[in-house]
Amino acid sequence: MLYRRSLSSRIFAVFNMTFLVGMALLCLAPLVHVLAVSFSASSAAKAGLVTFWPVDFTLQSYRFVAERPEFIRSILISVERVLLGTLLNMLLTVLIAYPLSKDARSFPRRTLYVWIFVFSMLFSGGLIPWYMVIKETGLLNSIWALVLPGAVPVFNVILLLNFFRGLPKELEESAFIDGGGYWKSLWRIYVPLSAPSLATLTLFAMVGHWNSWFDGLILMGTPEKYPLSSYLQTVVVQMDIQSMIGSDLASLQQISDQTAKAAQIFLGALPILLVYPFLQRYFVTGMTLGSIKE
């Protein structure tokens, strides 16, 4: 396009660029600071000397954290939770989205099902009855408490069912003519065709499970069963020393040390930072996924 760039528009462009770069750096600065603290000597951190670069570089805090049995154990629980929870989420999302993507004429019970699922998204029984139900169904203290109650992500189901609706019906009709049924149509046509959308939803489910901390905190009776996010909540935020089982006083002091905390914060964020490049490729499509409706 042909623009006559005036002085004022150039000044604006420079200011705009500076402002936006500043905003972007502001988003990263706290993380960089924590990273710098985690690699600094604890005396330097205590004196508040660290800004965005390690002072008296040391790996001491990481070495200390790596030796904590409860840290390693909670990571393993988190990994188990992410794998199990994501698998369950995706399986149920696909299995529910497909029938609900049929229109009410070809599947009359659809409307009733849709309302059951949507209402569960709009209204909730509240924290205490929810806790009671999980207790009554005997899930407390087991990994299933972290994956079963939230196994049906209704919002993702809606995204996926809208996407399914956008696929040409003729594909499925041809499968029916060739003698396939609903199951064949789902696994052979709908699932392969929606692979990018499913990848998006899978990544979101994984991040959600990794980040989730409150359920672990209240549904797991003992700190030995906490997933990493719940463990970090008690150590970094609550500073609750009870979760340090069998620790001597010296190591208690050390775990509450700023640099050790910073190291744990950073390690907790690390998996997210690692999947972030993949996430980023997908989430713009994820946000607009299923937004085309007929």
């Binding site: 936006l20 029984g125 139900v133 980040n211």
Partner: protein, 299 residues
């Protein structure tokens, strides 16, 4: 004939069944538990054996001295978040849209989307570190420019603003996605015509860009009204302390402390139910408005 019609869709019912059962147990099950709000619930007697007290729990709730303060905190914090959470992303998207260097634009987007994916446990830990009155980065800066250090997380005056600002900081980048998507949908011919007519970039923004994204702004504003009673449990829980209960305690944190920490089951359920009902009305109302005026449907 009837049987064939009903059973033809049996595979579809089978697909839904596992998920349906889980939703019935873990989403509808708790709704039955709401009766606890009208009982004097004792864990030893259970729901069937506990004494019915009618609205007695609600009388207690509204006589409780802190209730009004907590409702006020919840609504004021979430309204501030709604307003700031609309204004900042719109402004940033408009500015990003003016950026002509595509590579830089993408890099900035990558950086501002990131905080959305970190949990409030991580961010809580980071905020506690950088807002510390003695060694925190923010207070170091405040001292350099010549002011007294502020205990942001322990001061009732500052705490709500810390909540609003840190929430905007976490979410503004991610929220720009939807506006940027709407901006690409504006017909470029409009800008070309405006340039021919001699409109400056500022005039173009005012008369083409803003009206172009107005529907999506209205839609998001209406939908956010459903969240007036959700002031952000994850965030508050990871940042507050007894010192700032007065300005930072919200309905959800209060329910948690009363119900699970103090074992006042009926009391907490009563407040929780009160919140669920009002939230339900607000959300349904906002969806209805969005449907009526913006033709928005979720499915």
């Amino acid at each position: 004939m009837w049987a064939r019609k009903t059973f033809r869709h049996l595979p579809l019912d089978c697909m839904i069944l596992p998920g349906l059962i889980l939703v019935l147990i873990y989403a509808y099950g708790p709704m039955i538990g709401i009766v606890m709000a009208f009982q004097k619930y004792l864990p030893t007697k259970g729901i069937l054996g506990s004494e019915w007290v009618g609205f007695q729990n609600y009388v207690t709730v509204f006589q409780y001295p802190d209730t009004m303060q907590i409702i006020y905190n919840t609504v004021s914090i979430s309204l501030m978040k709604i307003v700031a959470g609309l204004a900042v992303p719109i402004a940033v998207s408009l500015l990003l849209n003016e950026l002509r260097i595509q590579g830089l634009k993408r890099s900035i987007q990558t950086m501002i989307y990131l905080p959305h994916f970190l949990s409030w446990v991580i961010l809580g830990g980071i905020l506690i570190e950088i807002l510390s009155p003695s060694t925190g980065l923010v207070n170091k800066f405040i001292e350099i420019i010549g002011f007294e250090p502020v205990y942001f997380l322990g001061d009732n005056h500052w705490f709500p603003f810390v909540l609003v600002i840190s929430d905007v900081w976490k979410e503004f980048g991610f929220a720009t996605i939807i506006y940027l998507a709407a901006l690409t949908g504006i017909n470029p011919a409009l800008y070309e015509a405006a340039v021919v007519d001699g409109a400056s970039r500022w005039k173009q923004t005012l008369h083409i860009t803003l009206p172009g994204i107005r529907p999506i702004i209205i839609l998001l504003a209406v939908l956010s009204l459903g969240n007036v009673l959700n002031a952000g449990f994850d965030q508050v829980f990871n940042l507050y302390s007894p010192q700032v209960y007065q300005s930072g305690d919200i309905i959800d944190t209060f329910v948690y402390r009363m119900g699970l920490a103090n074992a006042q089951y009926s009391f907490a359920t009563a407040i929780g139910f009160f919140k669920s009902v009002i939230s339900f009305l607000l959300i349904s109302g906002s969806y209805y408005l969005a449907y009526r005026f913006a033709d928005y449907r979720i499915f």
